[in-house]
Symmetry: D2
Subunit: 500 residues, 4 copies
């Protein structure tokens, strides 16, 4: 066992682990006891396969075909057909990071032992990760009660019939398997449904988005702190005492963080601020960021539960030696968490816009219009407001809910949906837009700090200001601002400014 590897048990997967494996290419192992159980479960499947009890998707068909019997000798053909007939998703393939997150999410939930999948498939999923063989998964086609139309493409890859990205190259999966000395899987009873019947695409992708939101909210606090220094804003609302009388967890955290970042800042000097009360966008920043933290916490809790519990249907009950129908595929709680996050994000988005608008306004800063270094010569940050306003409008649009817009399918049997994949995707788009918005705020904050000649910055804000200025100099002349925004966006998106 390699100490650097992530050991999977089916019940201990953290969101951070998913990022490490998906983005950092950390390798994975399967806990040996857990694997033994998988082998035993498979044995049980073979026993049950010979029994008479009809089980959905096992010895009976799926969807409208749930009354069709599947007989033993056809298991292999039936399960291959099931994979093929489920390959229905279309559009842009998932990124390699999302694909890895998906494979990992499904691999982990195999290990819970409610699937009865053949152990070779479990090992194959491990190898897909460790050898970087990434099935091509077209991303549109899940209504979010299981991402079955998408996950089938993983199935296609492991039986050697689909396509993968292997070492950056798109190729036939059998070719990649061959290069790595792996043998394509021959499917047995229940394997088809076990592969497809899971929310692993939305939950895996969801884990990546939640990790990004966590970085985002920390960044939000940081940039707010810098903007406050740019504004020469009032630090009274950061006082601990009134916050204690309020008690909301997220805002406590944001407020503590901002106080820490601003330690030593000129803002704490007596008489520095003249404004009795700054605009609400400043005064309530920690509260609004805190609300995003609260919503994140809710969603994280339930998504973590999703990742470490079974979403299989039917569900194998090993102790009772049965396999039964259930509704464990239902992800509604955490999908609703994402819908709430969308609205929470639209709040922090708009709040950042309003803070930035204030930094360009002499009435609030006492500095020049649009933070120009020369009123007569340089236009500076005027039109740039359009950019964040346009992105904020997109965020408002994306924050509308979508999970309930499903149709009744499969002969009216499948009359539920959550659109989990799309819900997660739209949330991720909002996050990306906010990085752009914050890049513009950071440009403003830095320019204001320069114009103000505020040298005594906080112990946490100072190095960030310096890093920005290393990448983007003071705006002395009008120049192509698109480039400046892009530069800062990259610093933020990559998380570089958080770990200074």
């Amino acid at each position: 066992m390699n100490k650097n590897n992530l050991v999977l048990t089916g019940k201990s997967l953290e969101l951070k682990d998913i990022e490490a494996v998906a983005c950092g290419k950390r390798k994975v192992e399967i806990d040996s006891k857990t694997f033994e159980n998988i082998v035993e479960c498979r044995q049980l499947i073979y026993e049950l396969a010979e029994s008479e009890t009809p089980v959905y998707g096992f010895n009976r068909g799926v969807g409208m075909n749930k009354d069709r019997e599947v007989m033993g000798k056809y298991f292999s053909e039936y399960n291959r057909n099931l994979i093929l007939a489920h390959c229905v998703s279309v559009g842009e393939p998932a990124s390699e990071e999302v694909t890895r997150a998906t494979v990992l999410a499904r691999l982990n939930s195999f290990l819970i032992g409610c699937t009865g999948i053949q152990p070779e498939i479990v090992l194959m999923y491990r190898e897909l990760l460790n050898r970087e063989i990434h099935p091509v998964i077209p991303s549109k086609g899940s209504i979010g009660e299981g991402d079955i139309g998408c996950l089938s493409h993983i199935g296609l890859a492991i039986i050697g019939e689909g396509e993968v990205i292997y070492k950056g190259e798109r190729m036939a999966s059998d070719e990649a398997l061959k290069k790595e000395g792996l043998t394509p899987i021959i499917l047995g009873p229940k394997d088809g449904l076990a592969i497809v019947s899971s929310n692993a695409l939305s939950s895996g992708k969801g884990a990546l988005v939640l990790n990004e939101i966590e970085r985002l909210v920390d960044t939000l606090d940081l940039i707010y702190a810098l903007s406050l220094e740019g504004l020469r804003g009032n630090v009274t609302p950061l006082e601990e005492k009134p916050c204690e009388y309020r008690g909301f967890l997220g805002q406590k955290k944001s407020m503590q963080r901002v106080r820490d970042l601003l330690e030593g800042s000129y803002l704490w000097l007596p008489g520095v601020t003249e404004s009795l009360q700054d605009p609400l966008s400043y005064r309530g920043s920690c509260q609004v960021h805190g609300s995003l933290r609260d919503a994140l916490e809710y969603t994280r809790e339930y998504l973590t539960l999703q990742l470490n519990t079974s979403d299989d249907n039917p569900c194998l009950l090993k102790e009772e030696r049965r396999i039964i129908s259930c509704a464990n595929y239902e992800p509604t709680t955490w999908v609703l968490g994402f819908e709430m996050l969308g609205v929470a994000l639209s709040h922090v988005s708009r709040n950042a816009c309003y803070r930035t608008i204030k930094l360009a306004n002499p009435k609030f800063t006492g500095l020049s219009r649009f933070l120009t270094p020369s009123d007569t010569r340089v236009i500076a940050y005027g039109t740039i407001q359009k950019t964040f306003a346009a992105l904020d409008a997109e965020n408002r649009h994306l924050s509308n809910p979508t999970s309930v817009d499903y149709l009744s399918l499969a002969g009216d049997i499948e009359d539920r949906g959550t659109n989990s994949v799309y819900v997660v995707e739209k949330t991720g788009k909002i996050v990306d837009n906010i990085w752009w918005i914050l890049a513009i705020e950071l440009l403003h904050a830095s320019q204001a700090i320069d114009l103000r000649k505020a040298t005594k910055l906080g112990k946490g804000t100072k190095p960030v200001y310096e890093a920005v200025r290393k990448a983007v100099p003071f705006l002395e002349q009008d120049r192509n601002l698109t480039k400046d925004i892009e530069t800062v966006y990259c610093l933020l998106k990559n998380g570089n400014l958080l770990n200074i």
Copy 2:
């Protein structure tokens, strides 16, 4: 102290208490120690009033006027003007229940001691409740950073200038106060802002809505259980074991409840159901209801926090003998909870519709079309589907978010909003629509049970079925269905069927 009275301390108000006081007219008392503290806080205000430190809304103006000095001798006039200038809300007055909830919410938060309000006002709020003097509060005019434009109307009433509903009659408030032997208040320093600067309308009303949602989700489980009996549905998905492998709290609770309700039902008899898997709307009902429970739990937790912590700005810090600006008026976390609840409710709404559609379809029930007692003679439950579909569309519409749609006001100082009052109101409307939808489902379930001659109902479902049939007989002939729906709606809305 009357044992039946609710004793308020500022830190122990439960959502249930608000319902008892608002709807059940329970009387309130103020804990004596708590009241002593209020008196001491007021003393401190007088001291501070003589100091030189500028404090927003205290010895300085509010909003764009925050730089205007307010001098001691003008406190009374200034605070009366403040109340008048804040009387800006329009439209339908809040119901008396909502008004009581609002007064109670504000009264309780006075008691925390961050307000510095004169004790006479605190006592007056108590009397408004106990003597049923209900200020007329036009309900539109809050952007949800404090419901200041609405709460002012309570202020108007206690200074004897507004209107109230007293014993069912709308009258001038001074008249009502006189009838009860109460003296109108003369406002002193900080009283104006203390009266208006609070989220008491949205949080009070919100408490009533959350209580109603709690009854709703219990009712949802109940009606699902009856529909399952009407459908002769499969009880396998109610098994405990797979649910344990899932671990979501809300769904556990719903599943346990449905199992209890169905104890003894014919559904558990061997061989009773033929369907291998029922439609998802049936199979996943407990999961979807459970997700509503989860969202409710989140919102309840934070709304309870809201009700028992200070939302004052500025905030009086008694120990430190200061009064400072803060952002405790920010309610975003629980407002987002309501936004999420809206989406969760749209899910249970649609799911109930789909369950009902199935009950009218012979393919799923084995019964007659539209549950007619006579194919050739009676049309029965055909067109009635339009009604729930129309209501469900409204719910989908109402579930769209609205909290972020605020404008920047007051000279760009007030550039935040949550529209909390409207968010709560739209949530309440969805709930009401669902009662209608469930009334129709219940008519279907009962008719299906009759047609099926299913006599052995569950121990929890049977008395409910009987109560329905007492109110609305079996549909033997076509008749005006609007009346039947209304009858069952009243049974449900009043909670009568829950406590059988």
Copy 3:
């Protein structure tokens, strides 16, 4: 024939006529030639009733029952049952005005001659209008492919089984019919479907809303003109020439109207305005109002078409002596017009808010903050901004589309919807909210005009200003502003200020 009466022909009904009949209680007559045709059509129905060709809803059932045969001797019972089984709508009854508009819309479309309804019913509808017998129509229950679940309640009334509002009193319909010496109808073949299968509720109500929007847009121009005078704004954007280079019809109309209203105003005096360019909310008002006019024109055109063409299914083709299935019940085009109007209205709503915000800001007006008559003594129009902001947020919410949110009903036969009734209703709610918003703008404009001592107002704006000041005096002291807003709202809503 009474010259004051509206003569109906089935092809000449204007939106204005509907208002006259619905709100003004104008009496109606039926063109005699048209009525003869109705009698002939009925004759044809009796002939066809004896033929063998199956026709939906005529000698066959409706919805999922469309394969059920209806035999001649049961026509009366079948049609009565059909009415009863279609009485499914719930909730608040339509207002008497809306009910009248509905009866009129259906009456007019009877006259086209595609219905084959018995002439006595046609006459009865006329009497409902002329004798002010208004069936109680619960308003929720239409999915907008025919308002069948609502219109049935008119059917119920004319057969003497439902309820009506007669001379302001709610009573059993047979009682009201008796008082007026009218005999309840006995239904014959096709009568049931003819009564219910129509979009008359949404189209009738829609006509009233469109008429109100027409008044609204004229009022918008008017109030904009007054605000421009309050602001001492730049009139350059009103110049005709650039508008000619643009060519949009609606904006031409608004611009011409504003120029006319401002004729003689001090604004045209040389050197009066100093601002090179006013805020866009002022500069583009005529353009935005014009876009509302354009959207209104589109919707009016198609709604008028709706009101004067047949929405019957099946459709009687008299010349061909047949009755056939069709999809003339589909109202999508004009429903989409209403959806667009919702968004157009949200634009004028927000634009009015921004104009009002400017009037309170010294930076733009050169006047006092919040238009106070005394900086030190009077708070004036500060908090009032919350009210229009809250209403504007509601408008943004209401402007979301809803027409596509339908379910598949009636055994999956009825898998279309438009939610036309709700679409029209939400549009009407936006309009009402805008009256409130404009009331507040008008208060601002008048106060600014007073403070500015601008005596030379336009020939169109001056009398309006005077009418406002007659109703609401200059704000000299802080007072309860809710009352002022209500007063002006009533002036606007009633259209009193338009016809000065």
Copy 4:
């Protein structure tokens, strides 16, 4: 003059022309008389530049800087700075087609003569098109009152400072200009604002989207006709007569088209259909498609007006020898048209889904489940329903309005917005999703036709069926359906099936 070239006059540009130039790389010329006028207008600008009258963006700054004087000798530097300071848009660059459409739209509106731009720039725009030099325009950053933050990137390219795509390669613009022997522009008075102050990105892109919608609606009719043949549906609703009684233009066109396509089809044979009334999704297809046509017509009319009228501000009035402020930048009417189109598209989207669902259901077709060729062996079109349902949910989400979600910018001067670029973009995304949905419907229709052995297809549908079958064979075995969908999507998207 080359006869193949498009001759531009500023008042004759059709949507089809934009497609020919943007996608077909048709070359453009400028009408010589028109060009003479441009030269004269420029002369006027030089005269006015020496006058004293302040003009926004000409001898005065823009936005909050509108009071800043710009002096003659600084025109070149000022205008270059203006371009640089307006380069603020971010994100994915516009496609080359969209870029060409944008350049063309702006070039055409230059020719109206309200701009006063230097003629060399006009010629340069022509060369950008004819020599395929495509400026890189990051696409996010317009709030839709002029796409100024995006169009600036064209300005950057023509002064030789930005980047372009030239013959497929991204390079510095001065390099590309050099290769083509073109000299970078030196900007003079008003040139900067003339380049950026236009809605050319949204209107150019909008023109491409409208053209695509026109193809889409023709395709919708076509596929509906094939599905009707697959269903063996009732053709009665296609009869002309009832449609005449209705009179909606769009539906007349769709109905005529479907009748033409189905000429000679087996569907017209007597006794072929048994269903009295097909599901509404079939019966009302022409009506719903017609409503899309109506909405398209409205939007096309106003977008064409936009393209052939001036959107300049300030506006040069040559005859009057003045330049004045105006609001011709306001595009609200046609932006609202796009918002309506979004909702109209969501209707055709959902309707296509419901038609497809019916084709998979034996109850409606009399064919096998999910159109399988073998009940026991092949799963066929079961899971594929998830794909269109997921795409339809996206469409529902995208159809939400967004135009009103703007912020107040530039010191509260720019308090209007329409988000036109994003509105157009989301509409385009819906269209693309519908191509996918229709691809799946077409697979169903073809499979149903095969299973039904319906050989006698319509004269318009038959060749299309054959073309599909040439590309995708009958589904005999389960296979990777993603590939089949992609194949048909390409046929549809490219318009290949329309011109058979």
